[in-house]
């Protein structure tokens, strides 16, 4: 477990009162005011050094820039920040590798089956087309999305956002939206679930026929490893803060 930090803003009465007065418009402008519009008294920029845990809303003060250690939420223990050296370049390189592997996985034969002198080859495209008959058709689209389209979209979005970052440039147009898309796609990009499905399918047909893996299988397996490894390098908060500070410089 990562080292727990003490950046939590303790619920100290004096601190809480100060905060409430400074920032809560309802309190600052009397109980009759509804906190609707922007509070003129507070410059939102001073709030940049705070972060609220997305899981439980606990406020934390961010560690100083350059600290290379993982920090967890004091209450729910979610990892808030996990910075790594030159992570941006690594992530872009790995996303590029994963994209090339995905193209290889689509182009080459995936699995082949031999039984009673008959043989059947199957590519990723064939797997997607397995449900293309009749009312199962929507499932074909879903499988295509889950194992090819969404993982590719996620990789493309990550590269679009982080490639300019790794060169030290200003963020590309729409980078914020692209990164939010990449985050939203995360649960739906199911390449690693698919590879477990392949393992189960191999066991299921083992009694029936002889099965051999094609080059696409190994490309896909490598793709899964690269993607999972890549996700451990991704620190959401570091990326958001870098994007914000670079966008401000533009």
């Amino acid at each position: 477990m990562g080292k727990r930090i003490n950046y939590a803003l303790a619920a100290h009465p004096s601190f809480q009162a100060r905060w409430s007065l400074a920032l809560n418009p309802a309190m600052a402008y009397g109980p009759g005011m509804r906190p609707l519009s922007i509070v003129p008294a507070v410059d939102p920029a001073i709030l940049k050094d705070l972060v609220a845990c997305p899981s439980c809303d606990t406020l934390h003060r961010l560690p100083d820039a350059g600290m290379n250690q993982r920090a967890r939420c004091v209450r729910c223990h979610r990892v808030l920040i996990n910075p790594r050296d030159s992570a941006m370049t690594k992530i872009v390189m790995m996303a590029l590798t994963a994209t090339i592997l995905m193209i290889a996985a689509i182009a080459f034969p995936f699995l082949s089956l031999q039984s009673h002198g008959l043989s059947q080859r199957s590519s990723i495209i064939d797997v997607i087309e397995a449900f293309s008959e009749g009312m199962m058709l929507p499932l074909s689209f879903a499988v295509a999305a889950l194992i090819v389209v969404l993982p590719m979209m996620r990789l493309a979005a990550i590269m679009y956002v982080l490639a300019p970052m790794s060169f030290g440039w200003a963020p590309a147009k729409g980078a914020m939206t692209a990164f939010r898309l990449a985050e939203a796609l995360k649960p739906w990009a199911m390449a690693e679930v698919f590879i477990v499905g392949v393992a189960v399918a191999v066991v299921k047909v083992s009694g029936l026929a002889h099965l051999s893996m094609g080059p696409a299988f190994w490309a896909f397996a490598a793709l899964v490893l690269v993607t999972v490894w890549n996700d451990t390098f991704m620190c959401r908060l570091t990326i958001w803060r870098t994007l914000e500070s670079r966008a401000a410089r533009r």
Partner: protein
């Protein structure tokens, strides 16, 4: 674990400090802001429709989960003889082959996880309305498990897709997907959406010292 420097009262939340936090990037703003200054996401201190969405997705997920168990997942035609396998039948078949490890994985992904989610999601939603601060850690853990593990149920749908594309050996043996594959995939997707819709900050709102 000792939390040096942290009082016994619950930590200050963004909402208690008069702030609204971005769910996407963690940036805090004064209450009243509707769009995140950092990432452009819509801001809400707590998603007011969270529980409605959770219940709606859970209900449709449960509705398609029933046919997913009754209809066949796989239809195998071997030398003119047709046999059908349900979700549970697929696991039993793996036990008969003697692959207990793989049978265990499939049983866990296709039977245990969906059933567990069907109970865990309403439990989490009900507990928001009737909170007690002591179980917050347990409920948060449960939510993270549901959120993390839900997508792995999709394994069986992929198995069906792979088998039906691969096992097409003319008259000898061929495999076709059954109607349950569609229902099960929808059920997994709907319960994933239920978990995504759940605003986990609601779990902690009953935490002591956070009542105002």
């Amino acid at each position: 674990m000792a939390n040096a420097g942290i009082p016994r009262r619950a930590p200050l939340t963004a909402r208690a400090a008069g702030l609204v936090a971005c769910h996407e990037c963690g940036r805090v703003h004064p209450l009243g802001f509707t769009t995140c200054l950092r990432c452009g996401a819509a801001l809400s201190s707590r998603d007011p429709f969270s529980l409605q969405k959770v219940w709606a997705w859970w209900l449709v997920g449960l509705m398609v989960y029933i046919p997913a168990n009754l209809y066949p997942m796989l239809v195998t035609t071997s030398l003119g003889k047709t046999s059908e396998n349900t979700l549970l039948g697929g696991v039993i078949e793996l036990v008969h082959i003697g692959s207990y490890g793989v049978a265990g994985i499939v049983f866990f992904a296709s039977i245990m996880i969906p059933i567990g989610k069907m109970f865990a999601i309403p439990y989490l939603a009900i507990k928001v309305a009737r909170p007690d601060s002591r179980s917050a850690h347990l409920r948060h853990w449960l939510f993270e498990v549901v959120e993390f593990i839900g997508r792995w149920s999709m394994v069986d749908v992929f198995v069906v897709a792979i088998l039906s594309s691969l096992v097409q050996l003319g008259g000898v043996v061929s495999i076709k997907p059954g109607f349950a594959a569609l229902c099960f995939a929808l059920s997994v997707a709907f319960t994933m959406l239920a978990a995504i819709s759940f605003d986990s900050r609601l779990i902690w709102d009953a935490d002591k010292g956070n009542a105002e």
